[in-house]
Symmetry: C2
Subunit: 616 residues, 2 copies
């Protein structure tokens, strides 16, 4: 058997195995897998350089299924590579199996979770950036894409960035089987449509018959030898290829075949080909950046006036000077988020992502696949643009750090489009996330340092305006802790960030009236310091005031309510938050209009203290 | 003075006025406004057909500033049109002024809020779709775009859809001033880069010098007479044009000029040109679709087994048969969301948006600008892709209805990428939103009908699996209400959707053990029925169990805590929710693993009843 015959046979095996897998729970996407089988057979047999016994080997190529629903095909490839057994293949989609409906990194050979379309290629851009600019190793990133998902704007962010950064180590393969979930895609089999777009975006594009294994072989060879630009192989394929009943038929997306045994027979039966996947050359080691090794965080004097967004920038550059694995990304606002300070000091480890927040977050996820420690920044409001990527990053068990600046109405005149008022809610609802909201520069710096090695998705919210430094530079701020800044027995005020300062002003005013307010700085919104909150509720007769520059739902108020929900601690919680849509204005005017400035906090505290609480 | 001279003079006036506006609060984006002044001068003088005295006239053109930060220019145009006075112009960015930092529909001539880049063109696609397919009127949609924002993937979703739908009534104008916020854009002044991309995406593209008013005139004439495809005018411009100190200089983005008086003098001084903006032809009326006029919602029998996602589809088509203003959009999953039923019955009022959720939501916002009543659907998880558009839709005071299906772990084998577990949190945190989560088909149908005329952003969460019909078809479900499905005094269980059924099973089991559980169906998650919740807490000794197929943060648990936070109602709230990252499995297996099935609910209820609560 020559190469081509072997590849065709392997392609048939991948089809057979995809059908077998889907038959287990009678669910999955076999027809979407069958169209790409030949594309993957050639890749696995000849082009992928991957050691399945050493998934963490930095020299490995990377394979991402952007069309994550073709997971039966991916798992069939693992079987063909000898990495999993047939028995395991046949646990597909079963409870407890690591072979889930869509791939996740619970499987050692999967870098990133996919399944939400239009994401795999942006992740691939991140890994390719790591390969070219950080690791400086020649591994290749292969991304199998569907044609339907080319409608996602995020794919075009990926196309733009890959060309701009000359990622010739990235190869996209589009499985153009013309049928989406519901029906025909916008372009059907018009390969030129895709190729024209790709070329306009600066890619090299090769159009082929996707079941012609020799054409596939030539295309991959050409892609692997094209320099200065990434390549996309646009392959005309047939959904459900190989089984007449479903070939190119609408209505078979996401359905197991009715007659798997008949289909397998039609495909020539079960095979047992094991492919010797080429291992990568072990030449070179991941590049290491020269650094001092000792972290010297910036410090400020109590009483200084500094914006926490500025402190983020100053702390990040210090972190970058101490640790060569720390990298930064920003979305065209680095002069506002102060990521520019890191950029200027460590240009080799900074990535300008322009106005493309989805690609920014995806690149961060890709970079951490290769063990780099990414800090991504933008306005907090604009991270909402990337929420599906943040959601999926949790499924990827990714470790990324995001800093969102310009939180709340306190940004002032720019108005609501630039104000983050839902970011705490958004980020609290991310699985395993950490949500931090510092109020001063020293606290910010310490928290930035803590973000570096913490697992999961860590979000820090920073403020545009200058705020006074109230903590000494020797203070520590454990995540999950809080600061009790004023002691008191009459009422508890819980705040963070800019409203923490307003709360202190209010407390000091109240103290003059004989009302002692305990002020808690909830800089760690998630995890929240339940112990301190419950003790405060106890000590202040259950009178709690929460204050946040954020909508009422999902933020500090909810975090406090959650901590007090155990029934041991009766409380009346009054939640001050932004309730009306803000407009433009000076920060002080907007804080007052939202009822979250010192005056309104004091007023609410007086009411609470004066009110009767049923439980006392 | 001939036309060209008049246009140049107007352009200068628009520059002068932009500088004057920004000088008021010493904030704003004058240089971003100055680059587009000539483009807008010609548009306002000759091409825009708009009656400023009748902003709701359906024949009006539409002008959107996708580069919303160029608001000084937009407001200067209003001044030049005689729509606002100079005095009002000089309230720019001041507290209480409707001339906010970025435009919002608080201003009658603004259709949609912009300021988050990459959004204006997608909104324009929505309005253009309305013009071509629904209103069937010849108004034109003009969208002024920045070059930086071309990096946003959503712009390419707009480009794709505009060409696919042959929106020759849409004209985009790209102000290529080569400087973003932080520095040079990816393409600088390489107009071909943008033109190549636009042409590849099926648009007609015209490249011009953006300060040559005669070239602008020719380009607009060509755009307005091009048929079958949209046109983009790509204009080479100079940021800060007209004032040497800032012309084409980095570092001036978002800054008021240091010496506004000197700049105004350099520009030739203040002018007082008032433009007679052409009014639209009053030919034709908005098309009206023939309908029955009387709503006949589908009904089911108690005991039937029906998925609420299916009921959505059945109810939507009924609504569409009764009301000709109801339109539907879906993102390539209409066979899963059941929007396909509407599509098949009312194809003229259905828009396939393919896999492009940002454009889907934006189109819905655009359609409602023209008073259509859009219902958009996709998997609930994928609406996270459009969260920035949803956030901005609230600032647009838009009335849109979104239905997200496939909520929670109960979708089964597809796994977490397809499961919405944060959608309740996400949507609760949207200003003025309504969040609905029906548990059965009759309830779904009634709620769909109520969504039609409710203001704001209304989100309905539906379930993949069949669930029993428990409500009669004559029941009513007021938004803000709840259903008390079991009476009881020992413990309250609050749930919705699929966990409501699990709660009923649990309650019936507990009742056999002598524990009477009150079961509340919180189908209206926001606004939540605080009164019923507080009464239940009172009646059941403060023992509350919430159960949701959702992460713990931001959903039903938080909604209940919020309702009980007034301190009048001591409660111990135990929140059952999904806490570990789910995998694949049968729905029943996944519900059990997440601890939110009947068995675990009963167990938690027993614990609660057995536990001592401090307040009793």
């Amino acid at each position: 058997m020559n190469d081509a015959e072997r590849w065709r046979e392997l392609g048939q095996q991948l089809r057979v195995d995809s059908i077998r897998a889907a038959a287990v729970t009678k669910s999955g996407h076999p027809t979407s897998s069958m169209s790409a089988a030949d594309l993957m057979a050639v890749l696995l047999s000849k082009y992928l350089h991957y050691d399945f016994d050493a998934p963490d080997d930095p020299h490995n190529d990377h394979l991402i299924f952007s069309k994550g629903h073709a997971s039966p095909l991916l798992y069939s490839m693992y079987r063909a590579a000898g990495a999993i057994s047939v028995d395991e293949l046949l646990t597909f989609r079963k409870f407890g199996s690591r072979l889930e409906g869509h791939p996740t990194p619970e499987i050692p050979w999967v870098d990133v979770a996919t399944g939400s379309l239009g994401q795999g290629l942006p992740y691939g851009v991140g890994i390719a950036l790591a390969g070219k600019r950080l690791d400086r190793l020649p591994y290749r990133v292969w991304v199998l894409c569907g044609d339907s998902e080319m409608a996602e704007g995020s794919m075009w962010e990926a196309f733009e960035h890959a060309a701009f950064y000359e990622l010739d180590n990235l190869t996209a393969i589009i499985d153009v089987n013309r049928l989406g979930q519901r029906g025909v895609t916008m372009h059907g089999w018009d390969l030129d449509s895709y190729a024209d777009r790709a070329r306009a975006f600066g890619w090299h594009a090769i159009e082929i018959e996707g079941h012609d294994v020799e054409a596939i072989d030539q295309a991959y060879a050409e892609a692997a030898s094209t320099t200065s630009q990434p390549t996309v192989v646009i392959a005309r394929t047939i959904k459900g290829k190989g089984v007449k009943e479903v070939e190119d038929k609408e209505g078979w997306h996401g359905k197991a075949l009715d007659d798997p045994d008949g289909a397998i027979e039609e495909l020539g039966g079960v095979r047992n080909i094991i492919v010797e996947v080429a291992k990568p050359d072990e030449i070179g080691e991941p590049h290491r950046f020269e650094v001092s090794g000792s972290l010297e965080l910036p410090t400020w004097e109590v009483g200084d006036d500094v914006a926490t967004r500025r402190a983020y920038g100053d702390a990040l550059v210090a972190l970058g000077s101490a640790r060569g694995d720390v990298v930064a990304l920003d979305g065209e606002v680095s002069n506002s988020t102060f990521a520019e300070i890191f950029r200027d000091a460590h240009p080799d480890r900074y990535f300008e992502m322009y106005i493309a927040e989805q690609q920014l977050v995806a690149a961060a996820v890709g970079l951490q696949v290769r063990k780099w420690v990414p800090f991504g920044s933008s306005f907090a409001a604009f991270f909402s643009r990337a929420y599906d990527f943040i959601r999926m990053a949790a499924i990827s068990r990714a470790n990324i750090r995001l800093c969102g600046s310009h939180a709340g109405v306190s940004i002032g005149e720019d108005g609501p489009s630039q104000m983050a008022l839902e970011d705490l809610a958004m980020m609290r609802a991310v699985h395993g996330s950490t949500v931090l909201y510092p109020c001063d520069a020293n606290q910010t710096a310490k928290l930035v340092a803590e973000m570096a090695d913490r697992e999961g998705i860590i979000f820090m919210r920073t403020t545009r305006a200058n705020t006074p430094v109230i903590y000494g530079s020797d203070e520590e701020f454990p995540i999950g802790g809080s600061g009790v800044l004023r002691e008191g027995d009459d009422v508890t005020i819980v705040a963070a960030g800019i409203t923490l300062h307003e709360s202190l002003k209010a407390a000091d005013e109240l103290s003059g009236e004989g009302i002692s307010a305990r002020v808690i700085d909830l800089y760690s919104v998630k995890p929240a310091d339940g112990e301190t909150l419950r003790a405060a509720a106890e000590a202040t007769g259950g009178r709690i005031l929460t204050v946040e520059d954020h909508w009422p739902e999902g933020g500090i108020g909810d975090a406090v309510l959650e901590a007090l929900s155990d029934g041991e601690t009766p409380a009346r919680v009054v939640r001050l938050a932004v309730r009306d849509m803000p407009g433009s204005g000076k920060p002080a005017e907007l804080l007052a209009a939202a009822g979250i400035d010192a005056e309104h906090i004091a007023e609410a505290a007086r009411s609470l203290v004066g009110a009767t609480i049923t439980t006392r």
